[in-house]
Structures are given as C-alpha cells and as structure tokens.
C-alpha cells in the first residue's frame, strides 16, 4: 500500500466571477521511503494539491468537490480533528515556498521550535521528552541544517535572519519531529540562486539520513533530476504523465511534457526554444476533454470530448494522452 495516495481530487474556489475549477481529478502516489517530484507551470494547482493534503486550504473560498486523500489507507479529508492533529504531529510535515512568510515574526526561532517539539513530543506519558531534551533537540535540529551557532540563533527573531537562514530554520522545524512524509512546496524558489543549491543539498542529505519520504513541488527540472526517483507532470489541475524521473526526462511522451522540456534553456543547446504556445486555461471555463487540447499540436477530435485515461508507455511510465492509446 502506498504511504500517500491522492485519488481523483477535485478542488475549486468560489470567487466573484464564478467557480474556479482548479484541481480536476488529480492523482498522486508516494510510497514509503520514496522521493517524488511534482512539476508544472505556475498556477497549475501544485500548491492547492499540497494544501489539500495538509488540510489547510482556506475554506471558503476553496472547496473540495470530490476525491480522496489516503494516508496509510485513512482518508485525510474525512479525519476527525484529533486524527488530523496526530497526523501532523507524528507523520506529515512541510516546508513552504516563502521563508519570509513561514515564520511568525513576533517570536524567537527558539520559541517556535520549542513549541513544536513540546506539542508533538513533550508533556507527560511514555516516550515523551523532558524540557532539557527538547532544548537539546532544537539545537541539534538547527545544527543539522548547517546553521552556524544554533544557540545564538535560538534567541533571534526571524527578521534578524537572512532568507537562506530562515529557510534553514523552516527545514529544522519540519525535520525536528522525525516525520514519515515531507511535503516541500518550492522550498528554494524565493531564495538567491547561490543559496538554492546549498539548501537543496542539505535537504537531500537530511532526508537521506532519516529515510523520510518526500513530495517535492517545483518548476525546476534540475531540482527533480537531482532529488527525486519518480515524478509527476501536472497541467491545469491534472496529472498528465508520471514515471521514473530518469525515464521521463530521457523520453518525455506527453506533448505538454515535451514542450516543457524544450523550454528549459540548455547550456549546450543552440538558440532559444519556442516554448509552448498559448497559456494555462481559464479555470472558470476550462476546456472540455483533455485540458491541454487547445495548446496541443497533435490535437485529435477525441481530445475535445473526453479526458484521456492513463496509458502505459513503459515500466511504471504512464501518460494521459490519446496518442498512446494502442
């Protein structure tokens, strides 16, 4: 059984103009110990997916129309408050895109880190940590992320730290509890290019050590190639292709994936690619059938009518495109 399984998730937002149908039967699986990437353009529903899994979507305006999110077989969407709380304390953890926004500016790093450990591992009962142990674990967690002088950082407020330092603090918060699954939503997008690499390498090292399963969201092919074993390509709220990262990058099948790969500038390549003509669809009135068909060069009549199922094109490599129907 998969550790995490998202089944036909449909999520929309209600706004003035109408109903934005963003996620359209999104599917996703993460196995125990596996590292999975989720790639797509800005606005394709990646963050909505992650927030649904963590059950922190702002409702309203967001609403989950249908689908299931199974964690070890239990549906997160139908879990009790207590259930979801325990899940967050022991099983799942996350890092968000913007380290500037992810830390509470009113409290020191130490206070925030300590409270996380206190609430998930402190207090009374078996296997609980004492105050001293919590303090030590906080410092260790910060130390692990390569932060110099963690004792001093504990007394600092987020506004006294640089972007890279803050993201390290976020990583420390996320990994301090030995969670089974880490959801990382573009953890390096808002950082300087020079810092991005350091942070990713550190993250890679840490999840390796702890054996954490990872779902990492990004729009950088480089990041997926370095960090993941398997990847999903997402377009306009739907997964269009999935497979082992190596296979998929070597031989992308879906027209969208192919376009996406071509738009990655290569240092060795000649000239600049044409990219994919058109834009991400309007979620108020998404295209019928395959949501990619208005931009697709291989469009067939059937594409406009019904959305394609997944067709296998190799070992574990499936594509949602009628080109591979046979």
């Amino acid at each position: 059984m998969a550790l995490l399984e998202v089944k036909d998730l449909c999520v929309g937002y209600r706004i003035f103009e109408g109903h934005l149908r963003v996620l359209n039967r999104a599917r996703l699986e993460v196995d125990s110990g596996e590292r999975v990437g989720l790639v797509g353009e800005t606005g394709c529903g990646k963050t909505t997916t992650v927030k649904s899994i963590l059950r922190v979507l702002p409702t309203p305006p967001a609403e989950v129309a249908s689908g299931e999110i199974l964690y070890r077989g239990a549906d997160i969407l139908r879990m009790s408050h207590r259930g979801i709380r325990d899940l967050r304390r022991r099983e799942m953890t996350a890092i968000f895109q913007d380290p500037l926004q992810s830390l509470n500016p009113m409290f020191t790093v130490g206070t925030q880190l300590r409270d996380i450990l206190k609430d998930s591992m402190g207090g009374r009962g078996r296997g609980r940590l004492s105050r001293r142990e919590i303090e030590a674990r906080c410092i260790a967690a910060l130390h692990e992320t390569g932060m110099p002088d963690p004792e001093r950082i504990m007394h600092n407020y987020p506004s006294q730290l640089s972007g890279g330092m803050r993201q390290r603090v976020c990583i420390a918060e996320a990994l301090s509890r030995e969670a089974q699954l880490l959801l990382a939503d573009e953890p390096t997008t808002n950082l300087d290019v020079t810092i991005q690499d350091q942070i990713l390498r550190k993250l890679d090292e840490l999840v390796d050590e702890k054996g954490t399963s990872v779902l990492i969201i990004t729009h950088s092919m480089g990041v997926v190639r370095d960090l993941t074993q398997r990847m999903y390509i997402m377009y306009a709220g739907t997964m269009v292709e999935t497979g082992r990262t190596k296979d998929l990058l070597a031989a992308p099948r879906h027209p969208y994936t192919q376009g996406l790969m071509e738009s990655v500038p290569r240092l060795t390549g000649v000239g600049i690619s044409d990219g994919i003509p058109g834009r991400i669809p309007n979620y108020l009135d998404p295209p019928s059938g395959c949501r990619f068909h208005p931009r697709c060069v291989h469009v067939m009549p059937v594409c406009k009518e019904t959305a394609p199922e997944f067709f296998s094109v190799g070992e574990g490599h499936v594509v949602a495109c009628y080109l591979y129907r046979s």
Binding site: P58, N104, P105, F107, Q112, D119, C170
Partner: protein, 339 residues
Amino acid sequence: MAKYIGLRLVQSIFVLFGLSLLIFSIARVVPGDPARAALGFLASQDQVQQMRVEMHLDKPFPVQYYYWIRNVMHGDLGKSSYTRRPVTTDLAQYIPATLELILFATLISLVFGQIMGILAGYFRNSWFDGLSRLVSYLGIATPSFVIAILLMFLFSQVFRLAPSVGRLPIMMQPPPTVTGFMVLDSLLAGQVKTALVALNHLLLPAFSLAVIHIAQEGRITRSSIVENLNKDYITMHRVHGIRTSRLVFKYLLRPSIIPTITVMGLDFAFLMSNAFLVELVYMWPGFSRYAVTTMLNKDLNAMVAVVVVMGVTFALVNLAVDIIISFLDPTIRIQRRGG
C-alpha cells in the same frame, strides 16, 4: 529605544506648544473682554482697566502669549472666573474622579472587546460573528450620551439595579482621599461596604463609556485575527501540530493585538471626550463635567486649561502605547534599536 522616546517627547512638546498657541489665540480673538468676564458685571470700569493691565491684555498678542506660557511653566493656569479659584486647584479636585471612570471603562472595553474580537475572528462567519457584527455596528453608531441615557433608564429607573447619580450617596461618608479613586480609597481605609457602593455607582457610567470601545476594538481585533489566520506562518504552526489553545492565545493573539492597542491609544481621545457627555448624564463630579460647566459659563482660563490638559493626556497616552507596542512587537523593537 531611549533615543526614540526622547525624539517622540520633543515632538509632543512641539505639538503641545502649537496647541496652546491655537487655543490661546482663539480665546483672545473671540469677542468679549476677558477682564470683564473675570470680574463680573458689578466691577467698575477702573477695576476692569486694572485687571486688563494685570492680565497683560493691554499688550500685543505675542507678549500676552509669552506671559501666559511663562505662568503655565510655573504651574499657574490662571484663575477660573466661574469657581473663583485657581484653575489648578479645580483640576486637582476633579481629575481623579474622571480618571477612575476612564480607567475602569478602559478595563471593561479591553476585556469584553478582546473576548468578542477573538471569538468572532476565530469562528468567522458563524452566528457569533454575525451577532458581534450587529452589536458593534450598533455600538459604533450610538452616541455615548444615548447609551448613558438608555442604560440609566433601563438599569437605574426601570429595574433599579444601580444608582444613577454621583459617586456615593449623599448620606455616606466618603473615605479619606489618598488616590482620589473612590473605590481604591475605600479599600485602603478598610471600608469594604463603601467600596462596593462606590463600585456600583461606577458601573453604569463606565459601561456607557465602554460600549463604543468594546464595539470598535472588538471589530479591529476580529479583522486582524482574520488577517493573521490567512498568514502562512499560522498555516505553518498548524501544519506542525501546535495545539489550538497555544495557536490562538499565543501565536495568533500576539500579532493581532498590536493594531488593537494602537487603536486603543487613538480611541483614548474619544474616551476622554465621551466622558464629557457621560459625566453630564450621571452627574459625575469629574473633570469633564467641570469642563462643560466652564464652557457653558465662558470661563476662558479654565477652558484653555481644559484643552491643554486633554492635549497633554493624549500625548502621554500615545507615547505609552508606542512604548508598549515596541515591547510587544520585536520587529519594531529591533528596528528602533538599530536606528
């Protein structure tokens, strides 16, 4: 930090100078002879002329202002033409009663306003949120004298739960004055019964004053709670499994309470001016009722003093609020330490 406070103090002093100049010039520009007003109708022309010289009214305006401000510096605000006593004596007698009223009203509005705001914000779009919205709309739209009259009508005249006039019944011996706060003084003198009676007298006027502020601060707290609930860091705290009580009362409340405190500082001015009306309704023998009386009697010296006292109080309150906020908000504190 000290540097910042010093800067703010200097700024306040400049503003207060401006204010005194403004009010002083209005007092001198208006028709009527202050000397005549000070002496009354029975005084002879000679006496008035002598008074004019004494009050420096025969000199040009800037000189008049100079003499006036010099006297103020020496703690002399002139003589009230209404009570025939030095204005400072009057103020010393009346201010504590108003202070007691205002502080108690602030306490009430803080407690109720926060509770209402937090609940309405956390359970937004619930029935409680709707109810609190209605209550605050009504509270903000109702002048404090209307609230005072309604409360007096209902709780004092119809249900007879609380007295409607003054600080203590005439029959009751007031405790020896220490702080000037009736409730506190009674307790200090060991007269528990007097303290309770005084508290009962305090209840209705203080509530009348507090209603508007409960409404306003409740609204502000609610909207900043809602704003903060949408912040990434609150989502993050939630993702990390922080328990709800800690999330709300620590991580959510701290950033949310800062705008409320700022608004409370600004609202203090309105609290003071609403006391003008509420004291009138409840015959509260305080500064505000004194102020209104002097105004109705065109007592210029006292009026100028009243305005200046209000200005000083307001400036001090805002400075205090500023300091409190910089203790609550580390980003501001760090900024000020650096800059």
